[in-house]
Subunit: 158 residues, 2 copies
């Protein structure tokens, strides 16, 4: 434990979530670095790995980046030909982003490794408990996602 029993932060949900998220992510990030990606770049490519194009704003929400930060990351990744900006056909304010074949090759390896890593992380808890954890997290995310995103998610389903 974090020593000091009964201390506020030891039982505070936000602290537990942040700590767990940080520890689990950090473990995998050393692997990500070895493949030449930063953490944000990995998140971006993983999000795009299904081949669908997606707006910059929405990508920012999913990858937990501010929009200006993401714009600059995309600039760099586009120079490396990992992603590509594509104009939206109907709304010219929107810039869509999609992954390139090169980006996909890179991220595919990492996704395989990520799945293995996840399996190792969840193994001590058993399948049932692991699924339960994920379900709880998904429900929590659903409950706290901003209304704008929900609308967006429903409206733009291809």
């Amino acid at each position: 434990m974090t020593a000091r029993k009964g201390h506020f932060v030891d039982g505070y949900l936000a602290a537990l979530l942040a700590q767990a998220s940080h520890l689990i992510s950090t473990e995998f990030h050393s692997i990500v670095r070895r493949h030449g990606l930063s953490v944000s770049e990995w998140r971006i490519l993983a999000t795009l790995s299904d081949g669908e194009s997606i707006s910059i704003g929405r990508l920012a929400q999913i990858t937990l980046n501010k929009q200006p930060t993401l714009t600059r990351l995309l600039d760099r990744m586009q120079k490396r030909a990992q992603v590509q900006r594509v104009p939206h056909g109907l709304d010219r304010r929107i810039t869509l982003v999609c992954i390139t074949p090169a980006g996909l090759r890179t991220v595919s390896q990492l996704i395989r490794l990520a799945k293995k890593h996840e399996q190792r992380v969840l193994e001590p808890f058993g399948l049932a408990r692991a699924e339960q954890l994920k379900t709880t997290l998904r429900r929590m995310i659903e409950l706290h996602r901003s209304p704008a995103v929900e609308r967006d998610s429903r409206a733009r389903k291809s």
Copy 2:
């Protein structure tokens, strides 16, 4: 949901943890800001709120900051008389940090608000499920905390 069903990131534990952590924390952080603190400052003060002194390195781990970042944050907070640096009696490499009465006053209010916020977040899940979530997270943290910290945590108790 995040649209696109069956997509890797929708079921990836690290992504779920990061999203949930981000959403829950962000909600409360608007309140934190209103009390004149940055997010990191809130984490630091909350960690110190039990009045115990703690080394800078350990504080960095708990608050998820890199050590140089924390040093600068502490500089600022010390100028505002929210925290205080205290030399370690036995090991002069170590600098301990503890909260000041002023810092404690600030953080006490926030802790009350944080508890209320947490209650609202967990309410839809019920007490049993909420406790189970926390238990799982704590165990996960325990399993992945670096060996150095475990040793530290046991060795330096009081």
